[in-house]
Amino acid sequence: MIVGNRKDFSEILEKLGAARRVLLLGCNECVTVCGVGGEREVGVLASELRLYWTKEGETFEVREHTLERQCDYEYIDQIRGFADDYDVILSMACGAGVQYVAEAYKTKLVLPAVNTTFLGVTIEQGMWSERCQGCGACILDMTGGICPIARCAKSLLNGPCGGSSEGKCEIDKETDCAWQLIVDRLKESGQMERYEEILPVKDWRTGRDGGPRRRVREDLKL
């Protein structure tokens, strides 16, 4: 899923500026699962805004609304009837959702309330960790199912570097060394001979470096 962090309240206030009629828009997908922008988090942020503005003696209106998804036009369209009643749409979706809402409501100010961080997994309740960088040419078959691009601090295709120590990465003792994990995994699965192969220079064109990406499936088109 896509994981993010909520922005600090002070930053959100700053971005809102003088806007006092706020449509706070959540998303029911990834950001709900990682506890950053679903219905509940919308409720918390709305409550914070109400507490703050009441305290400040201001007049305001905060409407809470959570869409099934903010990355599909048909859902975004559902707020068409009342979006214009608000000064801003404050989106709690990932960066993709925020942008798609902005594309759909061209005259509206659409603000992000979330910092989108990574594609990852739930390690345990309340803890998530990065797994993929969407490089567009997956090599997990070569690396024991562990992605060195996303999980090695230097994205080394032929690691580990000299900083790997006791299973941890040189950047800090909290971070596993991806290459230790890869070697362990190759060993466990009887594929150590894979380690001897040099992974070739990567063609990054399939990744972000090749420019914004697009995917088309003619057979799915209407």
């Binding site: 994205s155 295709l157 032929n158 000299g162 900083g163 790997s164 120590s165 299973g167 040099i198 220079v201």
Partner: protein, 308 residues
């Protein structure tokens, strides 16, 4: 003989190589480089010039190499993959060769987190093994990574680093094997304090026959103080400093510690020379270049061979 590298020649003649390093200044003053270079004249066969080591901005390695070259020294251009993509790396390789630089050392580079610009973006377009391949390809095949022909091949002797003490230990020799397979011709190791552990690594290296395809230079760093020994043990990832060595440093009075550090270093060199497969020594006297001559002399490694 592939290149004009002094390192290559000494290795070729079966000699014992001595290299050291010079960290460029954090400013534009060429005199700093010249001063450091002067201290190493006639004492070593090659001088590594670090590339923004520990991710702290310094004068570029290429420029400092050119200054040393101008003094008649033999620079070894260090190149990290952190700051440049394949376009810039290849371009600098051509530039280095054009300036008469004969050696390159291919490294991943420390993560920028440790430096003075932790906010920076890192590149890591290719890694150190792939950088070795790149140099070998430019030189031996006369081809850029992209496939086009190189007009005027860069005749560089290719080196890399190895850390015998990093984890996982069991793949350390295999990793060196990958570097050799990629085209690496000499290796400088991380500083060695635990000679026993290094010996075991060398055995693994020799088992694979890597010592015959690649000159292995054992790295040493003299301690200035007991505090430094302790710091390296505790804070430098992948550094193995045995407790008895720290105890030995602590055992002497503060003003005698530097001397003791040099003594340990010289003794270590003597032990390393005895290990089968070790073809030279790389002395990293961090901001202590004035001591290199003393160490080389005490270790009986002077005079250095005359190379034309």
């Amino acid at each position: 003989m592939k290149t004009n590298s002094v390192i290559e020649k000494v290795l070729e003649q079966g000699g014992f190589v001595v290299t050291s390093e010079c960290g460029p200044p954090r400013g534009a003053d060429p005199e700093v480089v010249r001063r450091k270079g002067e201290l190493l004249r006639g004492v070593v066969d090659g001088v590594n010039v670090t590339d923004n080591q520990t991710s702290v901005v310094r004068m570029s390695s290429l420029s400092a190499c050119a200054i040393l070259k101008g003094m008649g020294l033999e620079p070894i251009l260090q190149m990290v993959c952190r700051d440049r993509n394949r376009i810039a790396l290849q371009s600098d390789l051509l530039g280095a060769a054009a300036l008469g630089i004969n050696n390159v050392l291919c490294l991943s580079g420390d993560h920028q987190k440790f430096g003075d610009h932790p906010q920076g973006k890192n590149v890591y377009d290719i890694d150190s093994v792939q950088l070795i391949q790149t140099v070998a390809r430019l030189r031996d095949e006369g081809k850029f990574l992209g496939g086009d022909e190189v007009k005027g091949r860069p005749m560089l002797f290719v080196g890399a680093a190895a850390n015998p003490f990093a984890d996982p230990f069991e793949i350390r020799a295999a990793r060196l094997g990958k570097k050799v397979k990629a085209g690496c011709e000499f290796i400088q190791t991380q500083c060695i304090y635990n000679v026993e552990r290094f010996t075991r690594w060398m055995e693994m290296v020799c088992e694979r026959g890597l010592h015959e395809r690649c000159g292995i230079l054992a790295g040493v760093t003299p301690f200035k103080t007991a505090g430094m020994a302790n710091y390296m043990k505790k804070n430098v990832p992948g550094m193995d400093v045995p407790d008895d060595m720290i105890a030995r440093m602590k055992g002497v009075a503060k003003e005698k510690q530097a001397e003791e550090g040099i003594k340990i270093c010289v003794e270590t060199i003597e032990r390393l020379r005895e290990i089968p497969g070790v073809r030279g020594i790389h002395i990293m006297a961090i901001e202590w270049e004035e001591k290199v001559a003393e160490i080389v002399k005490a270790a009986g490694l002077l005079p250095r061979p005359e190379i034309q």
